[in-house]
């Protein structure tokens, strides 16, 4: 079992969440019942520009879908991956080439090789974590459904 803790650092996760503006979601489905659609919908709702990357889709969540990351014609801050682990090294190379700042691998998308490629290219890497859950944990409202955020603080936050 790979030790994933290096890719689940709360400080890195929060930095990625706060700094990203444009998020390319690789494997984003137009099926509203798929986890990728839940995450894409949530990210767009919270102000991120979401760019679908999926050769099997024309348009998802009102945005044009591109067949691959290399086809995306604008800069991308974060690449969020809903694909089988064996697709990750290729995606990581494209992410490095496009100048993305971070690579995020969703639950079960575990690829030490892909993570090494991305890290080598200067990207921050988060692995086996959900973008929506982590956003909701630190910035959003995960607590309203009784989930443990792990966040303990006596500071007052902005409403």
């Amino acid at each position: 079992m790979t030790d994933l803790s290096a890719y689940q650092d709360p400080e890195v996760i929060q930095r990625v969440l706060h700094q990203a503006r444009t998020v390319a979601i690789v494997g984003l489905s137009s099926n509203v019942l798929r986890a990728s659609n839940f995450v894409g919908f949530y990210a767009a709702r919270h102000g991120y520009r979401v760019i679908p990357v999926n050769p099997r889709e024309e348009e998802v969540l009102g945005e044009r879908s591109y067949p691959s990351l290399s086809d995306v014609p604008e800069p991308v801050d974060l690449v969020d991956v809903f694909r089988a682990p064996d697709a990750v090294p290729g995606i990581a190379r494209e992410a490095v080439a496009t100048g993305a700042r971070a690579l995020w691998l969703q639950f079960g998308v575990i690829s030490p090789e892909g993570a090494e490629i991305a890290t080598g290219g200067g990207l921050a890497v988060v692995m086996d974590r959900c973008f929506k859950i982590e956003h909701a944990r630190y910035i959003g409202r995960m607590h309203v459904l009784g989930f443990d955020t792990g966040v303990i603080s006596a500071r007052r936050q902005a409403p």
Partner: protein, 436 residues
Amino acid sequence: MSDDYQRIREFGFHTRAVHAGARPEPTTGARAVPIYQTSSYVFEDPESAAAYFNLQEYGNTYSRIMNPTVAALEERLANLEGGIGAVAFASGLAAQSSALFTMLVPGDHMVASAALYGGTVTQLKHLARKLSVELTFVDPDSPADWAGAVRDETRVLFAETIGNPGGNVLDIKAVAAIAHDAGVPLLVDNTFATPYLCRPIEWGADIVVHSVTKFIGGHGTSIGGAVVDSGEFDWSNGKFAIVADPSPAYHGLAFHETFGSYGYLMKLRAETLRDLGGAMSPLNAFLFMQGLETLPLRMERHVSNAMTVAGWLSERDDVAGVRHPGLPDGPYAPLTAKYLPKGAGAVFCFDLDGGREAGQDFIRGVRLFSHLANVGDAKSLIIHPASTTHRQLGDDELAAAGIGPGTIRLSIGIEDPQDLIWDLEQGFARMHGNGT
């Protein structure tokens, strides 16, 4: 690191008992968790409303399904148990029936400890009839019995950390291994131990249920329950179509696929709680949170008082036996050392020679112990199970639950232990015909 970022640290149990789930309220700055006494919540706009009802966004819709005060309690309890989340209910029995309702369908089979709380035994038999689920009770002390009762249709194993009232200590790790070999979850009622004394999830339990009425509330004021999920069980292993397959009750949503480890809790809340409706009130949640803040302090006192009283009882000639799992020469001493190193709780039974009449006379003699059907109050409590809590059970079932006609159950409070012993002496005097 930006000053806005949350510092994540492995906070200790006492700190988390006071803080988890309860950040200052952003609008007013209120430090205590406000009692959100509201049935419903105004939506920002139609898109937001739709997103909440579709479960695409975390938001409040209706207090039968979620409420900010209740959510703070849920988060704190989940945090203390080491779970990923919790759902609170109107009572402990509502919590456990909802936990089972979410995972079982007709034709399934469940295996349960024969030494459970009488109200739970009655509920399981009732649920089994209504859901057409088969039910097998086993000796909780025998891993071989647990393993032998498992069949292809088995979908859950159910036990208590500390049996009520027999004081059996569950070998959680062994029974969890049997459950996992069968591809089913182990559900543990941790009411008597509380997360301060034992955290079953750390030993392999998948789901923990509580009557938070007891030590968690701690003051005998309110009725409530909760289900905590470890998030570790694989509901997509082929045995739980009811959790994993697209749900007709939620426009085809496949809870486990879409929400991953949070799928069971989402289904428990968004379907079972929504549809069966056993919601906890915000005021009760507030009282339970206050209870949790002092849980570690109270449990230390409960446990030490109970050991003092149990030790005193076990020295007496007119006591046939004391069944406190923490007594050093008792049958559960090794399991207690392993699973309950900080103490084996504060509810235990002792047996009087002389049967039913002796038991009732004893209860007539005491005046500080409250004669009532509850446990886990700051006040000491006493009851005669054969004529009250376990009255619905037949003699064989009573024996299987470890209850005799002269069994007395005590729930030791946080009073001065000398005063508790003084009061019990009055019970013995009355029993021997010398009391007033």
